[in-house]
């Protein structure tokens, strides 16, 4: 081996060893300071400053901030955090950088509006975000749809939701269901049929996999809520008729002349406690259910989504 070859081999080996050592050390340091890599800090919270600093490359900066928003929400959601302090500023910066970035409005509203741990519990800021989106994209009926949705699901302000759907339905090329929604909200807003209609419309009109999965999860939860309500009503009727609770689900099925043991959308039979409470077999499979969970139930770290009803 010549001197030159020897130097090459030694320098190459030194390079490889040093690089491996650096990676290993960084991994150890990350373990010592677990929060360091996902620090909950927004150093510049002014959308205007970020916009100026981007030197006109706003589009790329908006994509970077949107990715940061998704990562921030994902991390906090995974940890089942109760607060999302940086979420609204991140979304505001993203949309100020690129007011036409529709995913930031559509997903942003669904990150901001729901109560923790499903979201930040800031429906007012979600409304502000959507309003900003509508101001900058007045021809996009879907933004009206998303805004109406926030009024409907989070604020239960059916009158306002109806108004927003009606305004959105005036836009050329708006989906015909916007008019139906406006009428439905005005008449019969709080029932599960309206909710089912709304989520079905979301499922059918969106091409985005995540939005469709979310809509499907809500549709499954509505189905479970409806089943549990009906079964719970049957238990009450049974009690009023016989003066006691049904001993088992089979007894209830026989008394109510049901075709079989009722099951959730996954085919898992509903259960009944000694106290007459109707429960879902695996509540973790239905992240948005409001009924049928055992007392003191705490949802698992992340909701499971299904691709079928």
């Amino acid at each position: 081996m010549t001197a030159r070859q020897r130097t090459t081999v030694i320098a190459g080996a030194c390079l490889a060893v040093s690089m491996s050592a650096c990676v290993l050390l960084l991994r150890r340091l990350d373990r010592i300071r677990p929060q360091a890599t996902a620090e909950d800090a927004l150093y510049i919270d002014s959308p205007q400053i970020v916009k100026r600093a981007s030197l006109g490359f706003n589009g790329l900066m908006a994509c970077i901030y949107w990715t940061r928003t998704v990562q921030y929400f994902g991390h906090r959601h995974f940890d089942r955090a109760r607060s999302y302090n940086e979420l609204a500023p991140l979304l505001e910066i993203t949309t100020a950088l690129d007011p036409h970035l529709f995913p930031a409005y559509q997903f942003g509203a669904s990150f901001l509006a729901p109560m923790p741990p499903n979201g930040a519990g800031e429906p007012e800021r979600a409304i502000r975000l959507m309003q900003y989106g509508i101001d900058h994209n007045p021809d996009n009926w879907q933004l009206y749809y998303n805004l109406g949705f926030v009024y409907y699901t989070e604020l239960k302000d059916y009158k306002k939701a109806s108004e927003i759907f009606a305004r959105g339905s005036q836009i050329p090329n708006a989906h015909p269901f916007m008019k139906v929604m406006a009428a439905r909200m005005a008449e019969n807003s709080g029932d599960l049929t309206t909710a089912r209609m709304l989520w079905s419309a979301t499922f059918q009109t969106s091409k985005l996999r995540d939005i469709r999965e979310n809509a499907l999860a809500h549709l499954r939860a509505i189905q479970v809520d409806e089943d549990v309500s009906n079964l719970q009503a049957a238990v009450t009727r049974f009690g009023e008729r016989t003066g006691r609770l049904p001993a088992s689900m089979s007894e209830l099925v026989a008394a109510e002349h049901l075709p079989g043991i009722p099951a959730d959308p996954d085919g898992q039979p509903y259960e009944m406690t000694k106290e007459g409470l109707v429960l879902v077999g695996n509540p973790d499979d239905f992240p948005f259910i409001t009924r049928g969970t055992p007392p003191g139930y705490k949802p698992s770290a992340l909701p499971k989504f299904h691709t079928h009803l």
């Binding site: 100026r52 790329l60 994509c63 949107w66 970035l101 997903f107 985005l208």
Partner: protein
Amino acid sequence: MNARIVHIASNTFREAVRDRVLYNLIAFALLLSGAAVIVGQISIDIERLVVVNLGLTAVSLFGVVIAIFIGIGLVSKEIEKRTLYTVLSRPVRRWEFIVGKFFGLAGTLVVNTFFMAIGVFGALLYVAHKFARPDASILVALYFIVLEFLIICALSLLFSSFSSPLLSAVFAFSLFVIGSFADDLRGFAGLTHGVTRWFATGAAYLIPNFSALNVISAVAHQQSLGAQLILENTAYALFYTAIALSGAVLVFERRNLK
């Protein structure tokens, strides 16, 4: 174009290639292919936007850096190596030397942009699986980026004709940054009064308006760009380039090279 300018331009292009300027294409390819694959996994519904935004931003920034750092050395390096004297001792006029250098650098950047454009369209095809009619406007954005390069090349040459490479780089880069805020500057000028307004408005019109040439966001959202914008931006860029190039020729013609 006369043969002497063509010779100087082709030599400038060959020199840039020899200096491994086109190696930036490797970094560009890695950046774009990495982004195309990774962003789909860590973000939501912006794969196409990222490819267009990142691709065009990278084309622009890589080109600006090349234009400045090659441009500032075009004259000073020739003086330092004393090759300028050999060139000028032949029947070559000083203005031909400057114009030839300009076309050589502009040619290098056009070739560089051409290969990067192939990369952008390749990455776009990877994430979108097909091209849509509005994707054609990406070509307009690339054309505007090339116009931006022409202005920066000419400015770099202008600064290079009378200043040191370091100062030329500082001047050229500062003008690029200020030019990116051109619309804001004109807005600020409108808020002032009296003599200040005259000065502010004059300064706002004197600096190159790069913000008008930046249509990356519009193209990323598949918005169409009017023919008038293309025409007027072209005329503006060519006139501004002519201003800077004429300035460089004027300064260089009078420069004492002894």
